[in-house]
């Protein structure tokens, strides 16, 4: 039996592979972090902040689609509830420090997420998408008719204020590093969730829900918790966006926004941590470039075309493709 394989060897190679993958991910992350730190010297900070806010939104959304396998078509509701809450509080109570407004916005979105989850969890698959879409439309009507949102006009001139009463956020560079810190915190939280035993159960639910049930997992509870985290982070993204742009509008609540975050995630790569970030950067940048050129009126149609092409021949997204390529060529 000279050519038999020792199980311990296999285990060792697997560990080695995991280690090298970890090391590679660490290097990629450090390079990206360095880039993000020096980025405002090279590009307009407000534009970068827009990308970071949408990246956080997409990362939050991906916790559902990418890691739990549930398509929410209502995430605009969380973005908007965070945005409106923060906007309303900061405009009404002028002494309120900014981080409290943001925390409040995040909490409201989290609670709303719990409400959505308790209702939508009762159906699966495409029904889940339809129910979340309908619920977010309900929220949209609520925002249209409520007086505190400013109706069609939205909230304008939201003061950026000070962080902890110390750092002046009206300075774009201060604001940028604040947004970056919040984005990284959100990103690391999702990374932590996905890597935890809890995240493994989510993946199991995504791959084979009946089996996860038969293994004794309370599948619904897992899904609800994931949805609530996702909604809270989406709300956080909305709150940040309000502070950055000093406005909150109905655009954030429109179903169009829910579609946009799906596109960002899908295009960047569902089920990868970095995918939604890349997708958000791509879509925000594309929309900006298009709005400057002769194709300004065609943004929607072009987004539609990208949607169709991604679904037809690019389902693993940009980051997914890169990962495949790396696996094939680097091992």
């Amino acid at each position: 039996m000279s050519n038999s394989v020792n199980p311990a060897d296999i285990h060792k190679t697997m560990l080695d592979q995991q280690k090298s993958e970890h090391r590679r991910r660490l290097i990629v992350n450090l390079v990206l972090l360095a880039l993000l730190l020096i980025a405002p010297m090279l590009m307009y900070p407000v534009f970068l902040m827009k990308i970071l806010c949408f990246a956080l939104f997409a990362v939050a959304f991906n916790l559902m689609l990418g890691f739990t396998g549930l398509l929410s078509f209502g995430h605009a509701a969380f973005l908007a509830s965070g945005a409106y809450t923060t906007g309303y509080l900061l405009t009404t109570f002028s002494g309120l420090s900014t981080e409290l407004g943001i925390i409040a916005g995040t909490l409201v979105a989290t609670l709303l997420g719990l409400g959505f989850a308790l209702v939508a969890i009762r159906r699966q698959g495409i029904y889940f998408a339809m129910i979340t879409l309908a619920l977010s439309q309900l929220v949209f009507f609520f925002f249209v008719q409520s007086s505190f949102t400013g109706g069609e006009d939205g909230l304008h001139g939201v003061p950026r204020g000070q962080f902890l009463g110390l750092i002046d956020l009206s300075d774009n560079l201060n604001m940028y590093y604040f947004v970056l810190a919040v984005f990284l915190a959100g990103y690391l939280l999702v990374q932590r969730v996905v890597g935890s035993p809890y995240g493994q159960v989510l993946k199991a639910i995504k791959q084979n829900e009946p089996r996860a049930i038969s293994l004794g997992y309370n599948v619904n509870r897992y899904k609800i918790i994931a949805f609530v985290i996702s909604a809270g982070l989406a709300g956080l993204a909305g709150s940040m966006k309000t502070v950055v742009f000093q406005l909150a509008s109905l655009n954030d609540a429109h179903w169009h926004m829910s579609g946009e975050v799906i596109l960002m995630t899908l295009l960047g790569g569902t089920g990868t941590l970095l995918g939604p970030v890349v997708g958000a950067a791509f879509v925000v940048n594309l929309e900006y470039q298009l709005s400057q050129g002769p194709l300004a009126d065609w943004v929607d149609a072009i987004l539609g075309v990208i949607f169709v092409l991604t679904v037809l021949m690019f389902q693993s997204g940009i980051v997914g493709q890169v990962q495949k390529f790396m696996k094939k060529n680097i091992g």
Partner: protein, 295 residues
């Protein structure tokens, strides 16, 4: 004037009539969704855009070629139905068998394209379409005024719904369709051309949407965005009714239109939200929907 619960009778019936009409559109649209879902197991997110395309086609055919309302009732659905078959053949078929989430996203992308292109061509302000002279005016029923066109919409929509139900439940073609819903592989084994059946089914569902669009052209404002809101409402209707049965889709559609009309009479601010609220209640009490079969 006589009153019911503090509301004049004429107002109440007027809103009920409007509700019935909206309900007729909900019924036609959710019926189309249910037919498509039955065989393809997908939710057609482009349904609202195709409904809009039916309405736009009716107006454009009249403006450019002078095609009358009556002809448009046939021509518009056939044209849009062909668009539907093209969508199925060139796009949906390529990802058949994959997770249904992808087909949903694909149709969503298609909806964005259709809506985006038409918005560029015609703007969002809306096209004008005048109804045929036959339908001008109405009759006084004593307790309310009934415009002819609105009566016509209700009657013809119900006829089309009933015809569809009859075809699916009582004819040989419908039997194929129902068999395909149960087990399309087995049916393929019996020598039935399932891919063709799938194309035709999708095309037919789309035709129903376009027919609703053509009916809507004279009474609703015809704009490239007219389909997106009604689609979300119809999704809620579908969740309420459950996708299980054809007749369920029709009944729920009309019922929800009436509920909306009644809400508009007694508590107007909630009228645009009431269907979604009903959906929430139904999901909490009976998750599979009023007519749904699966849990």
């Amino acid at each position: 004037m006589s009153m019911i619960l503090g509301v004049p009778v004429a107002v109440l019936f007027g809103q009920l009539l409007l509700g019935l009409i909206n309900g007729a559109f909900y019924a036609l649209l959710s019926l189309g969704l249910a037919v498509i879902f039955g065989l393809l197991k997908i939710i057609n997110f482009a349904h609202g855009a195709l409904y809009m395309l039916g309405a736009m086609a009716t107006v454009i055919l009249f403006d450019t070629l002078g095609i009358s309302y009556w002809a448009a009732l046939f021509v518009a659905p056939i044209l849009v139905g062909c668009v539907g078959i093209a969508i199925e053949y060139f796009l949906l078929r390529k990802i058949a068998g994959q997770d249904h989430i992808y087909s949903l996203l694909l149709t969503f992308g298609v909806a964005l394209i259709i809506q985006g292109v038409l918005t560029n061509m015609y703007g969002v302000s809306g096209l004008r379409y005048s109804m045929p002279d036959v339908f001008k005016g109405g009759m006084n029923l004593g307790f309310m005024f009934l415009p002819y066109y609105r009566a016509w919409v209700i009657v013809i929509a119900l006829l089309v719904c009933f015809g569809t139900w009859f075809m699916i439940e009582k004819t040989k073609l419908g039997a194929y369709l129902r068999a395909g819903t149960e087990d399309s592989q087995l049916m393929q084994g019996f020598g039935i051309n399932v891919p063709l059946l799938v194309s035709l089914t999708y095309g037919f569902g789309v035709m129903l949407a376009a027919f609703a669009g053509a009916l809507a052209a004279p009474i609703y404002s015809v704009t490239p965005v007219m389909g997106s809101h009604i689609l979300i409402v119809v999704f809620a209707v579908v969740v309420i009714g459950g996708m299980g049965s054809i007749s369920g889709a029709i009944i729920t559609g009309i019922l929800m239109g009436v509920v909306e009309g009644l809400t508009k009479t007694f508590y107007p601010p909630a009228s645009s939200a009431v269907i979604f609220l009903v959906m929430v209640v139904v999901l909490l009490v009976r998750p599979s929907g009023l007519f749904g079969k699966e849990a």
